[in-house]
């Protein structure tokens, strides 16, 4: 059965928040799919960049649970081709900011053995801590 989605005023608040954080007029996206077909990381993504935009347009909160925003490498391939002049990397960054600001630690750093801490590169720690891209 087709999945139902809710279109609510909370959703509008999410759209407004992401619009403000990113500075991009997300409602301007006309869903042509140029971003998706331009994206070098799309094979790894669970939702396509254009789908990510659609979810934000409709204020779907589960957009924050997708991997897509973490996989965006800010290479700007989509940005230079978007017929509406939108910068999707900024939208991805806004989504990352919202998640990071929740300040939920995915791992407890204190539980990592000291030897491992010396060995692990910092970026891996940061990624594992809140980004959950590890």
């Amino acid at each position: 059965m087709a999945e139902k989605i809710a279109i609510t005023s909370e959703g509008v608040a999410l759209l407004d928040r992401i619009t403000k954080l990113s500075g991009e007029k997300i409602t301007m996206c006309d869903q042509c799919g140029t971003c998706t077909a331009s994206c070098p990381m799309v094979a790894e993504m669970d939702v396509t960049p254009s789908q990510l935009m659609r979810m934000v347009q409709l204020g779907q909160n589960d957009v924050l649970d997708t991997k897509t925003m973490w996989l965006c490498a800010s290479c700007f391939a989509c940005t230079v081709r978007c017929p509406r002049g939108l910068d999707l990397s900024k939208v991805a960054e806004a989504l990352r900011q919202i998640t990071l600001r929740k300040a939920i630690d995915r791992i407890d750093v204190r539980e990592i053995p000291e030897d491992d801490l010396d060995e692990l590169p910092q970026i891996a720690l940061v990624a594992a801590l809140r980004k959950l891209t590890g």
Binding site: D30, Q31, C32, G33, T34, T36, S38
Partner: protein, 817 residues
């Protein structure tokens, strides 16, 4: 108590009390519309007390036969010289009362209307006392202005029956034929060697699939056959001066090097010509010779030599010349020179058409680099040749159409939809599919627009034929170095899946862009471009083929992307609008024009630069205004240091009299004067009234032709006389009929604010707002805001008012652009 319909104060003899003009005032009840709020009897009585007023009456329906007769009888009986009707909007019944004046032997322009319905009773219904006071004030203002009314001359200009049509595509052909058939003389000027335009290159036309050449060629043949049409191909417009009824046109005929009278297009010359170059008509798919006929059904059907590639013409001397030797008609002459010709026309139709978007600009699509990427126009030619049994190249296997190439794409700067690509792709794709069902044809689109008559059905036919429509804009194109097939990467946005697929042929559905040659014509004729680069019509709804340059009309895609039926409809409309002007033998000009007080003018020339219509010249030592070029906006008045310029119907003295009357009985500093332009501001005020939208009754609306008529001097004087604020309600730049006046209006407001600031007066007391006529709430809101503001600021102290009065005299603004 309602007054008796024929109540009339005792007629007073104005001359005895020192007046010079005998004014009659008529206050209308409007069947209760006014009299249920406003004490009309009181208004009439107060008017009767005014200087120069000989008779003042109130009556139930001034616009009725009886009401009109009342005025007509009074004009005769009391020798009235100016009439004030306090009733509804002059934009509503002004014409009626002007006719009464005219039939009674008065000049129709010695009429003033006080709008006590839309601007008073309908908006101040909740406060009858204030409404009555305002109605008295509005009537006094009209009397003040009427006293200074001068008879205005009916101005007409003769107009002949000669038209110039620029551009010989289907739009120009249709306009020229309509004009010629109606008996008007037409010069049809076409830049290339044949008429026919882009339509001549198309295979079939959507949605009916008529053969394009088959339906176009008879029309093309009609052009030289029409005795009223002077066809000038291979000719460019070099210069246009003048105006409606007297455009001086200079054209340059490029040398053809072939005498069209002798040439029979036999082709012997072409056979011998050693130079081969890409054929423009075939969009570079095939080649032509340096001497060539543009295409099979070209009109005129004669050869022409391309001087940029011909060996003899590029190298000189006795080089080559094979064609001359081959020609049995002795038609070729290498000595042809460009010929300049000058003629006069009364009207001009601009039909310079479009160009297709240069697909190479979207480098990612590989056009010009990948051999199997072509444009839709090339596909048109390929289909024509295939249908004729002589294919230029095979069309096999998998074919992909890419939509919105150069349209709806901010990366190339084109925001607009080209309107034809969805349908021509539907056409080309189904023609391919139907002629060979083994072809696998896809159309990659973002939104499919099938808005026209029969379009949706035609799109459906393509689906029935088996064309697959995929919703997604392809982003990446790669060419196989061996097979030369092209792989496209695209998201199917409906399934959210990526498609990476190989095609034998990719067709780019290129959009329309303005013809680069149009810019030159637009500059000559002072036509404006809309943001998309196409030319701007005078009004998007009601004057779709007119331009703001009188006597110049637009036909076809020069105005914006459109298909053939719309182009032809517009071309016929342009011809009809042109005929409407020419058929009269003369045309009426607005009597409102700027004029020069010659005793004051010292010929400094400041006004020449200030005039947005370029209507002023210095002749001898005096400014001279071309009455046919002057639009009557009044912007120039601000530039004159000697006060030598004035505007008929809205003179400095008249507007000041209105201002003085408006402020006479008011508490200083409370009244906001609203100068409303005739196109938008005044109509908007009327619409606000019709909608019964209330606003502060401290406002007084004064009609002006354009906001630019409100000079810094006038605004400063108004404040010096005791106005609390000045609001200029003007049209948005794109809707004003007065070219360039909006910028002048803004400059005037800025200058006034600057002076206020210098004098320590709050610059917010002067405000200019650009409206469209639907902004009812905004208009009422602006008035309320301004009235509240001046109340809170309090009156301007007397010494500052004195200072403003002094500054007003020196407020001259030359740079208004």
């Amino acid at each position: 108590m309602r007054s008796h319909p024929l109540f009339a104060p005792e007629p007073r003899n104005a001359i005895e009390i020192g007046g010079e003009v005998r004014v009659g005032v008529y206050v209308c009840h409007c069947g209760g519309n006014i009299s249920e709020v406003v004490d009309v009897e009181k208004v009439a009585r107060a008017a009767g007390e005014e200087h120069d007023v000989v008779v003042a009456r109130d009556y139930t329906h001034m616009c009725s036969d009886l009401g009109q007769r009342l005025i007509a009888d009074d004009i005769k009986e009391h020798d009235l010289e100016a009439i004030v009707v306090a009733a509804c909007s002059p934009q509503f019944q002004g014409g009626t009362f002007m006719r009464v004046l005219e039939t009674s032997g008065l000049n129709p322009h010695v009429l003033e209307m006080a709008n006590i319905r839309e601007h008073c009773s309908w908006v101040h219904g909740d406060d009858p006392e204030a409404a009555t006071a305002k109605a008295e004030s509005l009537t006094k203002m009209a009397i003040g202005k009427a006293r200074l009314d001068e008879p205005l001359e009916k101005r007409t200009m003769p107009i002949g029956k000669r038209a110039l049509v620029i551009g010989g595509g289907i739009a120009g052909i249709q306009s020229a034929l309509d004009l010629g058939d109606a008996g008007f003389h037409v010069h049809l000027v076409e830049k290339t060697a044949s008429i026919g335009g882009k339509m001549a290159q198309l295979s079939r036309t959507f949605p009916t699939e008529d053969c394009s050449a088959c339906i176009l060629s008879p029309k093309m043949a009609d052009v030289p056959a029409n005795p009223n049409i002077d066809l000038m191909t291979y000719t460019e417009v070099e210069k246009i001066d003048g105006y409606l009824g007297a455009f001086e046109v200079t054209v340059v005929k490029r040398p053809r090097y072939v005498d069209p009278q002798k040439c029979s297009a036999c082709g012997l010359c072409e056979d011998t010509c050693p130079v081969s170059v890409p054929d423009e008509y075939e969009v570079g798919l095939t080649s032509r010779k340096a001497i060539y006929v543009p295409f099979g059904f070209a009109v005129p059907n004669t050869n022409v030599i391309d001087e940029s590639v011909c060996l003899r013409l590029t190298r000189g001397g006795d080089v080559c010349g094979l064609c001359m030797k081959a020609c049995p008609q002795d038609a070729i002459s290498f000595d042809d020179k460009p010929e300049r010709e000058t003629f006069t026309v009364d009207v001009i139709v601009v039909a310079t058409g479009y160009e297709t978007f240069d697909a190479a600009e979207k480098a990612v699509y590989g056009y010009g680099r990948f051999e199997n990427v072509v444009t839709a126009l090339q596909m048109e030619r390929m289909i024509v040749h295939a249908a004729e049994g002589a294919p230029i190249r095979p069309i096999k296997g998998r074919v992909a159409f890419i939509q919105c190439v150069g349209s709806r794409d901010e990366q190339v700067g084109n925001e607009y939809c080209s309107r034809v690509c969805c349908m021509y792709a539907s056409k080309l794709s189904q023609l391919l599919k139907r002629s060979d069902p083994s072809r696998d044809v896809y159309v990659f689109y973002t939104d499919l627009r099938a808005f026209g008559k029969g379009f949706e059905e035609y799109y459906k036919r393509a689906q029935e034929a088996g064309v697959k429509f995929v919703r997604g804009r392809p982003a990446e194109f790669t060419e196989d170095p061996v097979t030369k097939k092209v792989t496209i990467k695209v998201e199917d946005t409906l399934s959210r899946k990526l498609i990476e697929s190989e095609f034998d042929l990719v067709v780019l559905s290129v959009g329309m862009v303005p013809n680069p040659g149009t810019a030159k014509i637009a500059e000559m004729l002072k036509l404006t471009e809309s943001p998309d680069g196409f030319l701007q019509e005078a009004h998007p709804k009601f004057r779709p083929v007119d331009t703001l340059t009188e006597g110049v009309f637009l036909a076809g895609t020069v105005q914006g992307p459109k298909d053939i039926p719309d182009t032809v409809a517009q071309a016929s409309a342009a011809a009809a609008r042109a005929i409407r002007l020419m058929n009269q033998g003369e045309y009426a000009l607005s009597p409102v024009v700027a004029f020069v007080r010659e005793d004051a003018c010292d010929g400094c020339g400041a006004c020449v630069d200030a005039c947005p219509a370029e209507a002023i010249r210095i002749e001898g030592k005096l400014a001279s205004i071309s009455e046919s070029a002057c639009t009557g906006c009044g912007a120039c008045l601000a530039s004159c240091p000697k006060d030598a310029l004035d505007l008929k119907g809205y003179t400095n003295d008249q507007l000041e009299a209105e201002v003085e009357a408006a402020l006479e009985d008011a508490e200083p500093g409370t009244v906001v004067l609203v100068f409303a332009d005739d196109m938008t501001g005044y109509r908007l005020a009327d619409n606000v009234g019709t909608s019964r939208l209330p606003y502060a009754s401290d406002s007084r609306i004064i009609g002006v032709p354009s906001g630019s008529r409100v000079t810094p001097k006038l605004a400063l004087r108004a404040l010096a006389l005791g106005a609390g604020g000045v609001l200029v309600a003007d049209s948005e730049e794109k809707s004003t009929p007065y070219v360039g006046s909006t910028r002048a209006m803004r400059a005037h407001a800025a200058e006034t604010k600057r002076i206020l600031e210098e004098e320590g007066v709050d610059p917010e007391r002067v405000r200019s707002v650009e409206f469209v006529t639907v902004m009812l709430a905004k208009f009422a809101g602006q008035i309320d805001e301004m009235c509240a503001l001046v109340r809170s600021l309090g009156p301007i102290p007397q010494e500052k008012r004195d200072a403003l009065k002094e500054r007003a005299d020196g407020a001259v603004l030359v740079d208004q652009k």
